[in-house]
Amino acid sequence: MAKIKYIEFNGTEHEADVANGLSVMEGAIQNDIPGIDADCGGGMSCATCHVYINDDEWFKKLPEKEMGEDDMLDQAFEPKSNSRLSCQLIVSDDLDGLTVHMPEKQV
């Protein structure tokens, strides 16, 4: 279990307890947190669960991107070097305290 903080572009904060094994994207969807669309349902086939990891320490601590994630991020709205697809971030106790920022929009 990990406590994940989701911050919308307008600054609204949401906190959710997300079970291990779920993705950060699923944590948002299951808790009705706005700002993450996840059109493809978690298949790394769209780029609508895009988040920023603003804390550099956290960004480095996350599991590395698999092949294909950066390719999808090219097609996201305003990708940056600290961008991730939240469907690829699998929750474990290690992610307790993670904060993700949502972009202005997903599509």
Partner: protein, 338 residues
């Protein structure tokens, strides 16, 4: 005006198999899709990626699945209306009048929405200032490449479309290619070619920059780009091209008075009808308790929706359940000779 029993919106696997089920029970349909090819997400997003959960097919690609579905409905000779989009619906005397973007009109008692998560559209620049040049000098696809001759063209993107056009246009235009990172996702041969063209100064290659602003007065004069650390550059430009892949938009479906739950349409699971009589929704776009976004679920939903359509298409007939193995009527429809 084309009169038919069913208009299917979406030529992905779910729409195709629903068409098959309609053919089996003796109904006609017309299929509309805004892509220029049949197959939906399977063909647009993952033609080469293997799928492992189609019942009785241990492994197939999106393209193979699509080709087999096309083969399966071939006996029925249904019409496809590709590169077109259903725009307007109107109900008149229990019939739906359907109008497409390209001006086609259908009259039908049934509409099956098998639209996935909406229609594919190019992702556009986030920059507000790019909007007023959209379609004139800010472009997301190329219809006539001769307009770029001897012009300054700034291309954004790192996939095959961006690389291929940068290579192609470098013969007759001044090309600058801008991408947000050093790696490209295009074919290795194209990436190699871009590096060569950059080394010999045929094109300007700028990485780790993205668009900031489009400047001009009536027509575009320049484009300003920014790096993440805040540096910016101004590049002279007559045309600005963006190739960031496709996004999915619900589009006109949102305006038809259907109940919506986020981007999906609630249905009843008896026949997959929506809150509007004669409008059904199947596949990724529909929702109900326990919904799985699997192709196999879409097949099941399409089979039941087809029976739902029968009631309105043949109000004076009683639907009779038959197996394809045993029914001579079905074999006739399939053109099977024994």
């Amino acid at each position: 005006m084309i009169k038919t029993d069913v208009v299917i919106i979406g030529a992905g696997p779910t729409g195709l198999f629903c068409a098959h089920q309609l053919g089996i029970i003796g109904l006609k349909c017309e299929i509309v899709d805004n892509l220029d090819k049949i197959g939906g997400q399977c063909i647009e997003l993952y033609p080469d990626k293997p799928i492992y959960d189609i019942p009785a097919v241990p492994k197939c690609t999106g393209e193979e699945l699509t080709n087999n579905l096309i083969k399966q409905i071939k006996p029925f000779n249904f019409n496809f209306h590709l590169s077109d989009r259903v725009q307007k619906l109107k109900n008149e005397n229990n019939k739906w009048l359907v109008k497409t973007l390209n001006g086609k009109e259908f009259e039908t008692p049934n509409i099956v929405i098998a639209g996935g998560v909406g229609s594919f559209e190019p992702r556009k620049f986030p920059t507000k200032s790019a909007e007023k040049y959209d379609g004139k000098s800010v472009l997301y696809s190329i219809k006539d490449k001769t307009i770029f001759k001897d012009k300054s063209v700034v291309i954004f993107g790192g996939g095959d479309s961006a690389l291929d056009w940068a290579i192609e246009l470098s013969n007759s235009s001044k090309v600058t290619l801008v991408h947000r990172r050093d790696e490209f996702r295009g074919a290795p041969a194209s990436v190699q070619k871009i590096k060569e063209l950059s080394d010999n100064k045929t094109i300007d290659l700028i990485t780790k920059y993205s668009i900031k602003d489009v400047k001009g007065n009536g027509s575009i004069e320049s484009v300003e780009i920014k790096s993440e650390s805040g540096e910016s550059k101004v590049i002279k430009a007559d045309y600005v091209l963006g190739f960031f892949g496709l996004i999915m938009q619900l589009g006109p479906i949102a305006e038809w008075g259907l109940n919506l739950d986020k981007k999906t349409i609630p249905v009843n699971t008896e026949n997959f009808e929506t809150n509007k009589k004669g409008i059904f929704a199947i596949g990724d776009i529909c929702t109900y308790p326990g919904k799985l976004k699997l192709i196999l679920s879409g097949f099941h939903e399409g089979a039941l929706a087809a029976r739902g359509c029968f009631k309105y298409a043949r109000p004076d007939e009683k639907y009779r359940f038959e197996f394809t193995t045993a029914s001579s009527t079905i074999k006739d429809r399939l053109g099977v000779k024994e």
